[in-house]
Amino acid sequence: MKAENESVLQFPSLSANEAFARQVSAAFAAQMDPTLEELGDVKTAVSEAVTNAIVHAYPDRIGPVHLRLRRLAGNVLEITVKDRGCGIADVAKAREPMFTTGGAERSGMGITIMESFMNSFSIRSVPGKGTTVRMRKKLTGRGEAACKP
């Protein structure tokens, strides 16, 4: 699908970049006139995806995390988070709620939240090569929301 607008950035897998990634995503989404709740959903999903890349893809080194933001027709926001880390051996297991290989500060709810806060979610992973998460959300827009009965 052709993008009406697009932004691509790369940053190292430092936990300080979790806040940076969600702020950038919120700034990009602002042109689509989202509601406050939609903006919160987007920030939460980005935070989960980028944190997974930082914690799980590069457990013992700092590696690159790619974030691509696209505005598609119909006021749909597409977010892609890609890493070149260790990959996920069992994607089905990783998608189970409460499952985590992370430490005590991880709840195992990251993928469940991305799935429920966004309209679509897909994950592709190749062990030793990396993981790509792609999510889409249709933003109602405050103007459109105000016209609803």
């Binding site: 936990s15 300080a16 979790e18 806040a19 969600r22 709740e37 919160g40 959903d41 920030k43 939460t44 935070s47 989960e48 944190t51 930082i54 914690v55 430490g103 005590a104 500060e105 991880r106 709840s107 709810m109 990251g110 469940t112 939240i113 429920s116 806060f117």
Partner: protein, 107 residues
């Protein structure tokens, strides 16, 4: 992520503020555990009134606090939770595990 704590009648209130994410979660958990270990409260109130953003790291903080309070046979209450953190907590099924209230200890 910042926090302030208040103790009154064996009730420990932790006032959380700012953004809760993985970057700050471990430090916050350690701070909460250390306050519980020192004051041995009967109830721990996590007050989210000043939280401007929270991801699933906040769920881990609540579960961690719940476990620490269960060891003392105490309970956990979540207070003043804004809509965005509430949506994350609900997605994590936290409302089945802890009580929600609007209580706040007088400063």
């Amino acid at each position: 992520m910042n926090y302030t704590s208040l103790l009154q009648d064996k009730r420990l209130t932790i006032l959380l503020s700012g953004e809760i994410d993985h970057h700050s979660a471990r430090q916050t958990m350690e701070a909460i555990t250390s306050k519980i270990d020192v004051y041995l409260p009967r109830r721990c109130v996590l007050d989210f009134g000043g939280v401007t953003f929270m991801d699933s790291s906040g769920i881990a903080i609540v579960i961690h606090t719940l476990r620490a309070m269960e060891e003392l046979e105490g309970d956990v209450c979540l207070a003043n939770v804004p809509p965005q953190p509430m949506k994350v907590l609900r997605a994590g099924g936290i409302e089945k595990l802890v009580r929600f209230g609007a209580e706040r200890s007088p400063a």
